[in-house]
């Protein structure tokens, strides 16, 4: 940058201020260009890193899954499956009823387990327990019930959908 400033006739401001304004302008221009470059590099890198997140979000938009042959599940047993990206469980109760629940503990997100002998859903992480029919949190730290899904039995499988 040269420090000499050509003064056009009629320009009143002393050279000092002129240099200062010009300098500020150059810095602003450089800053703006820098922001453009940062954006042009940062945006693709962000999208690149976020790709699996976006995919999982697209998956969780799923409203229905069909579990083939699940109608053959014996009484008093459980089938673990993924509802979108989310671990979930299908329980076939002794009385013949079907219950589908999210298997993600509402406390800190561990995957819970159905214990047929005690007929409870248990979380090994901090000992939280849920009711296996309603999904209600019955003891331990979990603050909320497990999310319930609708389970419909057909000839070829079980269709699980959001309520």
């Amino acid at each position: 940058m040269s420090k000499t400033v050509s003064q056009s006739p009629g320009q009143e401001s002393p050279p000092d201020t002129d240099v200062a304004t010009r300098r500020a302008f150059v810095w602003a221009a450089l800053g703006a260009a820098g922001v453009c470059y940062a954006g042009a590099i940062g945006y693709p890198v962000y999208r690149y890193l976020a790709s699996p997140v976006e995919r999982a979000e697209a998956e969780s938009a799923v409203t229905e899954v069909t579990l083939k042959d699940a109608q053959k599940l014996p009484l008093g047993s459980v089938l673990m499956f993924k509802f979108g990206p989310r671990p979930s469980m299908l329980i076939h109760h002794q009385d013949g009823s079907w219950v589908a629940l999210s298997a993600v503990c509402t406390h800190l997100g561990c995957t819970v387990q159905y214990q047929p002998a005690r007929n409870v859903i248990h979380c090994a992480c901090h000992g939280g327990e849920y009711d296996p029919v309603t999904g209600k949190n019955i003891s331990g730290p979990p603050p909320r019930p497990l999310t319930r899904y609708v389970a419909k039995v057909t000839d070829t499988g079980v269709v699980v959908s959001r309520t």
Binding site: A40, V45, Y48, L49, A50, S51
Partner: protein
């Protein structure tokens, strides 16, 4: 502004930033007709930084072994902007090697390898060789057809060495054939071993540059000191250096986005090699020399002879600081320049020849 300067003062009292600044301002870079060549080391450094950053980004989705091609396909077609990151890594790899070649020849012709800069020359040569191994090992990682056959051919070259050649080739491949074991070990080489060698060597190289400053070519040296010009490193030269980096960044962005790197077909050892299969351009010269010797002399003897000559040439090139007599007198030693021109023309001619022979 006030807050900023008090943060600066806080840090300065603890880190001695002012000393560093004064040091950088006192340091001077010579200015003369050939100063433009001083940028090429910095440009090579820029491309290495690009490689380190894009390489780590690729590592996030790339899976070596049997998944190599599939994961590269996902990077190219499924992950947002994956094609761009991959393209940038591939283009910058080539630009980095090109920049290092320019840097090396400019150092050679400026005779900057003379005392006390011998170690700069040697570490630079090793950096170039490591970079070429970076290129060779990286080239296989996508495990596409071209990479597969190029690696196959490349690893057949040591085979012609008597006794140990075969052992070396099998060990590098991890078996008699290029397969997922080869990819896996090339991966370990490419992302762990080579960076672990490269980064300390680069540090050594840069420390030496800093210690001895820029060399001036003999023509400048002959001038009386009063006639030699120089500019401060900070901020003048650094600004120019950064401007070069910006140009390099723009060139890279244009190439990577306008000419996305091809993925090609997955490697299949049962399919015949595609016609015109050839290594990357920076191996074309040695490829052609070996081919020529193979034609001139029968059997493995030709290839072995070619390899020996090539190695001898490389050793002579490496040792130039030890026998260029101008190291002492500061006078232009013509024959070293002729040797450089000879080496440069051999490289260019054999490379062009190799490409011409493809069609």
């Amino acid at each position: 502004m006030k807050a900023l300067s008090s943060i600066y003062t806080w840090a300065d009292e603890r880190l001695g930033l002012d000393d560093l600044l004064h040091f950088a301002q006192k340091k001077r870079v010579p200015e003369h007709a050939h100063s433009a060549w001083y940028y090429w080391g910095g440009i090579s450094l820029f491309f290495f930084l690009v490689q380190a950053i894009t390489g780590v980004l690729l590592l996030i989705y790339y899976r070596p072994g049997p998944d190599a091609f599939e994961s590269t396909r996902q990077i190219t077609y499924e992950i947002h902007f994956g094609w761009l990151i991959r393209s940038a890594h591939s283009w910058a790899a080539n630009l980095m090697i090109a920049a290092i070649f320019v840097h090396m020849f400019s150092v050679f012709f400026m005779k900057a390898y003379r005392k006390p800069r011998e170690f700069g020359w040697w570490s630079g040569m090793v950096l170039l060789l490591v970079t070429m191994v970076f290129g060779f090992s990286g080239y296989l990682l996508p495990m596409n057809e071209l990479a597969f056959f190029a690696t196959k051919v490349g690893l057949d070259i040591p085979n012609s060495l008597p006794v140990i050649g075969h052992k070396i080739a099998t060990l590098v491949r991890g078996g008699p054939e290029v397969n997922e074991f080869t990819v896996q070990r090339f991966f370990a080489l490419h992302v762990v071993v080579l960076p672990a060698l490269f980064i300390p060597l680069l540090g050594f190289h840069l420390w030496l540059v800093q210690k001895h400053g820029n060399a001036v070519p003999p023509a400048e040296e002959a001038k009386p000191p009063a006639q030699r010009k120089s500019i401060p490193f900070f901020p003048n030269f650094m600004m120019k250096d950064l401007a070069m980096w910006l140009i390099a960044l723009n060139v890279l962005a244009l190439l990577a986005s306008m000419f996305p790197w091809d993925l090609g077909a997955p490697a299949d050892s049962l399919k015949p090699a595609p016609t015109g299969i050839h290594p990357e351009w920076y191996f074309m010269s040695s490829f052609q020399v070996l081919k020529l010797f193979g034609q001139w002399f029968p059997g493995a003897a030709g290839e072995a002879l070619g390899m020996i000559l090539f190695t001898l040439g490389l050793v002579m090139w490496f040792l130039i600081p030890l026998y260029d007599p101008s190291g002492k007198s500061g006078q232009r030693a013509r024959w070293a320049t002729y040797f450089g021109l000879f080496a440069l023309s051999i490289l260019l001619v054999t490379t062009i020849w190799a490409y011409a022979a493809l069609n």
